[in-house]
């Protein structure tokens, strides 16, 4: 069977062998599902009894015949689809694969069911979207939200939408002919919703004159064919073709077949028919248009019905009605929102069938309706991302009164306001899409926003695909599981600590008092029996104090030492660890995101309580949220800080949070030695830092010489003399030494304490310490200051450092200093005299010295 490389989600689908369109199954859960034959084109006619069946898809889809593949280039980039059509055409896009593994249309239960990955049916949530490209029409740049209009050119004008940068003004032709305007979603027929992208000819309809001759004539079709042939890169992506356009067997007529007509599938546009599908009969059901529903239902229209007989206004042929979902997923009011049918004035028309003009006998085939995503937010977002894979515009939400998504701009590319409902699929540098999208005023940041044709797409089908990595920007934190111990932990107060201390002095009293007298007979054995040791105090493993309310059980109990029950109550400890969360804080640059915001000019240190400070690289967190999680381990008395940029851990730091309270003499000496070692380590580290820094500074002499020779002299405003540069070079070198050291070794510069007690005495807030340049300007003889006037003066005389590939005149007025100018073409003056070789050299020098535009 046919396979198509579609590039969905940026990855080609190698084959569709896993996709099967089964017919005849009663439901998706039919145990014989796999045994039903795959759907083929030839079954269209013979399976009109699907009315009572269920058309079920498993993940994937098998093409019935290669004939379903349009005879035109198929490429990997969805962004090719539809762009650069020289004339109006309509590309309907269906949700490919949807977000579910399978989709079932359960006609019996009157609902559309999506079988999700976890085998549960999701409520009906889907979107539709379409892409338009339009030529100029007699209405110039006006937006026409009129699905029934026929242009004088006879082009397909069902919903003609095109670029309108200003809500009130007409704009130039160059601006209008872009895929910049999206109508709100048009409803898609049920089957079109599933796995079908095709370019198809929509029959325009003029309600006053029936099908106009200009449409029904060959002229329009010829135009259509010519247009498709001339498309530079209009490559519709076909997954499966689920609709067939039929016409009367009488050549030249493209209206709806009537009952009894013989019809043939019409594949003038590159599709091939394999056989005559036979006669139309009166059955309402066909594979495209499910059986009619009655009752409290709405209509989703917008395609040509295959079969059926025109009938009065409540005819349910040719469209899908969605009633109340048996699972309660959608109410009729929701459906009204979801599939709001509108009349010609854009007024919602609920519960209406196809508008039938009893006089002309024709249907209004194309109703523009919009779809508002309802249902769970996650499902809606999945569908948006599916739409975004096509790299095209789509809209999200209800239309406003005007019925379209406005874009307001001053001039062609000066966007002042873009309707937040207008979304654009993001295309990567290779022209592939991955489901990301922009919205509203963010749209102009995407390069494809400005595309006029596909030649601007970086996509190259011949370019070998570089295997892509899978990236993840989220660190997963595991649940800390149960911890079984051989000891018992009690949460107590200072009062209980004192009581325990006093009780320890009398804890053996019962053992040595026999009959009111002191008797030390068998004392050892008695101690071992009660305390498992001959020293009761050895039952105490540790006593720690934490700077927090320790999570404890609801009820207290008597503290036991060994088998001995004391008179003191304590609460069993409830948790092994506790996580403190410090609120994610967006880190914004101070100097308008210039080099001054980054090292070595700006330094950052993050102080985490009990863990000390850790050097942070501004480049790692500027523009992102800085999150800190501090996990307190009650077992060891330590704390581990996880520093995150967004949701990704980038650093960890440890510290002691609990104060170890010595209980015995042995414990006291252990604690003291720990403190001593910690302090000694820090001292050594500080010495190392000083030595390393000194070496770096002394080696910067070469830098001094270079700067000094270039300029010499004393400082002149804007031009630094030798001494200033020496100082700066040394300062920069010293800072670089700091930077290098902290990143080669463990952070040695800390704010905090090696001891927990010291740590308690200091700030308990998590704090980002920022060292940034004051911006003081060095002007000899004047106090340091930094102001806009000096910055402006600096710009005029020297200009701001940058690295931009541009035409010199495109950067606006002012000084421009460039390098490597492209003077390869003919350089002439106003009268056309060519520059001499010498003048070209002069021009190069002039550009490198600077030109003032």
């Amino acid at each position: 069977m046919g396979t198509i490389d579609t590039g969905i989600w940026g990855q080609p689908i190698a084959d569709f062998s896993g996709y099967n369109l089964r017919t005849g199954a009663s439901s998706i859960s039919d145990p014989d599902f796999e045994n039903y034959p795959p759907f083929t084109l030839s079954q269209i006619d013979s399976n009109k009894t699907f009315a009572n069946g269920c058309y079920s898809f498993k993940a994937g889809m098998e093409l019935a015949e290669p004939v379903f593949v349009l005879d035109r280039k198929i490429d990997l980039s969805p962004s090719y689809v539809g762009i650069d059509a020289p004339d109006c055409f309509i590309c309907q896009i269906g949700v490919i694969g949807n977000t579910a593994d399978s989709v079932a249309y359960d006609e019996t239960n009157v609902g559309l069911l999506f079988k999700s990955d976890n085998s549960e049916y999701l409520p009906l949530v889907f979107s539709n979207y379409r892409y338009f490209r339009s030529s100029m029409t007699q209405n110039n740049n006006a937006i026409i939200y009129n699905p029934y209009r026929v242009s004088s050119q006879g082009s397909f004008t069902n919903g003609r939408y095109f670029w309108k940068p200003n809500a009130t003004d007409s704009t130039s032709a160059a601006s209008s002919n872009r895929n910049k305007y999206m109508a709100y979603w048009r409803s898609l027929p049920l089957r079109g919703l599933i796995g079908c992208i095709c370019v198809k000819y929509i029959n325009s309809w003029d309600e006053n004159s029936g099908i106009p001759s200009s449409i029904s004539s060959e002229t329009s079709l010829y135009q259509y064919e010519q247009n498709t042939a001339e498309w530079k890169a209009a490559h519709p992506i076909i997954i499966a073709y689920l609709k067939i356009y039929v016409r009367r067997s009488t050549a030249g007529l493209y209206d709806t077949p009537a009952t009894g007509d013989s019809v043939i599938p019409d594949f003038s546009y590159g599709l091939k028919a394999t056989e005559n599908v036979g006669s139309v009969d009166a059955d309402k059901m066909n594979i495209i248009c499910p059986a009619s529903w009655t009752g409290n239902s709405l209509n989703v229209m917008n395609f040509i019905p295959l079969f059926g007989t025109p009938s009065p206004i409540n005819d349910t042929n040719g469209y899908v009605q969605f009633g109340t979902n048996a699972d309660g997923g959608l109410t009729s009011s929701n459906l009204a929102t979801l599939f709001g049918a509108v009349d010609r004035q854009g007024q919602p028309q609920y519960k209406r069938g196809i508008n039938y003009d009893g006089t002309s006998g024709h249907r209004i085939y194309a109703r523009s309706v919009w779809v508002e995503l309802v249902g769970d937010a996650a499902g809606c977002e999945k569908l948006r991302r599916t739409a975004a894979c096509y790299g095209l515009f789509f809209t999200d939400g209800k239309p406003d009164d005007t019925g379209y998504a406005n874009i307001y701009a001053e001039g062609n590319d000066d966007y002042r306001w873009i309707d937040n409902k207008l979304c654009l699929g993001t295309v990567d540098t290779e022209g592939l899409t991955h489901g990301d999208y922009t919205r509203g005023l963010s749209n102009p940041t995407s390069p494809n926003f400005y595309w006029d044709d596909t030649t601007q797409s970086p996509y190259d089908p011949k370019k070998p695909k570089i295997p892509t990595n899978t990236y993840d920007t989220q660190t997963v934190f595991n649940e800390i599981g149960d911890l079984a111990t051989m000891t018992k932990r009690y949460v107590i107060t200072a009062t209980e600590v004192e009581k325990l201390g006093r009780e320890l002095w009398t804890i053996t009293q019962d053992l040595i008092t026999v009959g009111g007298n002191i008797d030390y007979t068998n004392l050892n054995e008695k101690l071992l029996d009660s305390f498992l040791t001959n020293n009761p105090i050895d039952c105490i493993v540790s006593l720690q104090r934490f700077p927090m309310e320790i999570p404890k059980a609801a009820s207290s109990e008597r503290i036991r030492l060994g088998k001995h029950e004391t008179t003191i109550s304590g609460y069993p400890m409830e948790k092994t660890a506790f996580t403190y969360l410090f609120q994610g804080t967006p880190i914004n640059p101070k100097f308008a995101d210039s080099f001054l915001d980054y090292e070595p000019y700006t330094k950052l240190e993050l102080y985490i309580p009990f863990c000390g400070t850790i050097r942070m690289n501004p480049a790692d967190i500027i523009g992102r949220d800085l999150n800190v999680q501090l996990v307190v381990d009650f077992t060891t008395g330590t704390a581990t800080g996880f520093i995150m940029s967004g949701n990704l851990v980038i650093e960890t730091v440890n510290g002691n949070i609990a104060i170890d309270i010595p209980v015995t003499g042995l414990q006291q000496s252990t604690v003291a030695s720990q403190l001593y070692n910690a302090i000694a380590n820090k001292s050594n580290a500080d010495k190392q830092e000083a030595i390393t820094g000194w070496n770096r500074v002394s080696l910067s002499g070469a830098a001094e010489m270079i700067y000094g020779d270039m300029l010499g002299g004393s400082d002149t405003f804007g031009i630094k003399g030798k001494k200033t540069l020496q100082r700066e070079a040394a300062a920069i070198e010293r800072e670089r030494a700091d930077y290098d050291l902290t990143h080669q070794n463990a952070p040695v510069h800390i704010i905090g304490s090696a001891s927990a007690v010291g740590g308690w005495a200091i700030d308990l807030n998590c704090r980002l310490i920022i060292y940034y340049p004051s911006g003081d300007v060095i002007i000899t003889g004047q106090p340091p200051k930094w102001n806009d006037l000096q910055l402006e003066r600096f710009g005029k005389t020297i200009g701001f450092a940058c690295c931009i590939e541009s035409a010199i005149g495109d950067l606006g007025s002012g000084l421009v200093v460039g390098t490597s100018p492209d003077l390869s073409g003919m350089v002439t003056n106003t009268q056309g005299y060519a520059a001499t070789v010498s003048e070209l050299d002069m021009l190069r020098n002039a550009i490198s010295e600077g030109v003032i535009i």
Binding site: F546, I550, G570, V777, I798, F800, C803, L811, S813, Q831
Partner: protein, 162 residues
């Protein structure tokens, strides 16, 4: 061959010096050179005129180029000689605007960029130190918490703590 004389105060790097120039000769002056004229460094000979001596810039229509007047001489015939050097910036202004290059400095950016700029006269030794607190979203630390002591003992039924 005629020239038009200007007096301009524009920066020599400007490609449009005429915006800050005063035309000294409403009608172009016909050159009376008897010798050849160099394209890049011409010397134009004309009648003596004190107004002409105030010029520092000129345009030659025949050569279609603009020139800095680098020197003014009076020759033995009491005629004025204007020693010039071609101004390629003004002469090829349109070509310069359209020339693509790697721009390394630009005034129009208005503020420093991420490109490190050693020419920006800031004082790196002058630093401001400040801090930003990340607020807690869970319970706060407290050095005065009541149930803050954890006693670990051997005895009783061990905890199995989650």
């Amino acid at each position: 061959m005629t020239i038009t004389l200007y007096s301009t105060s524009a920066d020599k790097r400007a490609i449009n010096k005429l915006s800050k120039a005063t035309v000294l000769t409403q009608t172009p002056i016909t050159i009376e050179n008897t010798d050849r004229i160099d394209l890049l460094y011409p010397v134009f000979e004309l009648a003596m005129n004190t107004t002409y001596m105030t010029a520092n810039y000129l345009y030659c229509d025949t050569l279609d180029r603009y020139y800095f007047i680098t020197d003014t001489r009076v020759n033995t015939a009491q005629r004025l000689e204007l020693v010039c050097a071609v101004d390629v910036r003004q002469s090829f202004a349109d070509a310069i605007r359209e020339t693509e290059c790697t721009v390394i400095r630009a005034e129009s950016l208005s503020t420093p960029t991420r490109i490190q700029d050693t020419k920006l006269p800031i004082d790196p030794a002058s630093k401001i130190v400040t801090s930003m607190v990340l607020p807690e979203t869970t319970q706060s630390f407290s050095t005065n918490a009541t149930y803050s002591y954890l006693l670990t003992v051997v005895g009783g039924e061990p905890n199995i703590t989650p």
